[in-house]
Assembly symmetry: C2
Homo-oligomer: 260 residues x 2
């Protein structure tokens, strides 16, 4: 049986306030939980017998030293779960302490900057694709969706074990970056992304779903990009979803880096 | 006042069963509603005074001949809305009757095939990006998410006014397609998408979020593609979200079509 207090705790973690207080977050499903175990301290696992028997020893080793482990029925898992279709395992992990990263890192690798991306699903999807494209760091304005929101966590599909997400005052941080560093952004008046060489390092800034990149942040962009629609200039949807645009931009950076 | 019956009707349209019975669907927000007005028959509009005064005459012309129009308060809109943050206008539209499209269309233009994409948000996002990339037709297996699910509708951001979505037996339909037609699919053992020329016509097949393309459907693929991760072959997330993968593939098709 999962205690009433535990269920209350798990459900409270849908809200940022309680995540902040407890420094915990929820992850559900064996793929996700197994990917997070080596990267985050696990405090609690509620799982069906099948997962405990088949996977627990295999995947956890001594990764769960401090964790309370409970075998539960499907019905009990349903009561605690934040998902519409609860899976075989639910875990509580401790949030990681963010370590500040100097802006000089942009001289050696490509990173992403998110200026007010609101939707937790979009953030999670961006973390997943960043992992695919070997992008290690995401620099986010404080009003960007929370990494530990259950919707973000689930959408990362485990990529948050590898990609580091930093919340900071983007403007103040960008002021510390060497002005020679390429800072890219997609803007309506940008230059066709396929028309100029892209560097294997620097920062790609992406903005809020409705309002794009704030003027204060956009001022740091020194390479303005545009994803052309097709046929070019045709009247279409006004814009692409922010995760979709991020994917197209990252794919093109990596295509060029692999070719030259 | 929105009548109790109307509220009940609107809320019932979250379920496919009632959408099928009534042949109606809900759209919310001025951008979306205004994009759909020229493309779908509007049956009902509930809007704040601001929208009615500023936009109604301007955008609707005689597009709403058969529609019942109601001015409502924010509180009333909240009661009827399926969104967490209701906007200024909610409308009911009639679903379009699907007209069969011959497989020979693939000899003239690039289309998308979706084999069991489950998530309505993913479907809506794919429709939005198809519009961006000038893709007019989406061919979907019957178990693909419903175009008229409110989550799909909202995620299209209006692109469903232009992109046509057909539900059909994909396998039977593909059997009618000339075997010379390029049928692309992303598969784990595919060839690097950047290593071979892509045609400006044909079909790109995308599969279910968890299980990919069904073997029955995959058998029709004659050009197997792979989106390379970076650095190539590095251990990363196992896969990309289906909408993200579709975007990267479509962007590359259109990049090549614009260059050569």
């Amino acid at each position: 049986m999962i205690s009433k207090n535990k269920i209350k705790l798990i459900r409270s973690l849908e809200q940022k306030k309680y995540r902040k207080e407890s420094q915990l977050f929820v992850a559900e499903g064996h793929k996700l939980v197994e990917e997070l175990l080596p990267a985050f301290e696990c405090m609690y696992i509620a799982a069906r017998r099948e997962w405990l028997e088949r996977r627990y020893q295999h995947v956890t080793g001594n990764l769960c030293e401090n964790a309370e482990i409970q075998e539960v029925s499907a019905e009990e898992l349903q009561k605690a779960s934040l998902q519409r279709n609860p899976q075989d395992v639910l875990a509580l992990f401790r949030q990681r302490t963010d370590r500040p990263v100097s802006g000089s890192i942009l001289q050696n690798q490509l990173s992403l900057g998110l200026d007010g991306v609101q939707d937790p699903g979009n953030l999670g999807t961006i973390i997943r694709l960043a992992d695919w494209f070997g992008i290690e760091h995401l620099f986010c304005s404080p009003d960007t969706a929370d990494l530990y929101n259950p919707k973000t966590v689930q959408a990362t599909m485990g990529a948050m074990a590898r990609v580091k997400v930093h919340y900071l005052d983007l403007k103040a941080w960008l002021q510390t970056v060497d002005p020679q560093t390429p800072i890219y952004g997609t803007l309506l008046d940008g230059e066709n992304i396929y028309d100029r060489p892209l560097t294997p390092h620097g920062l790609v800034l992406m903005g809020n779903e409705g309002n794009g990149i704030r003027p204060d942040t956009a001022a740091f962009i020194n390479r303005r990009l545009l994803i052309p629609n097709y046929p070019s200039g045709r009247a279409t949807s006004e814009s692409l979803n922010v995760a979709i645009a991020t994917a197209i931009v990252c794919a093109e950076f990596r295509r060029q880096a692999s070719m030259f």
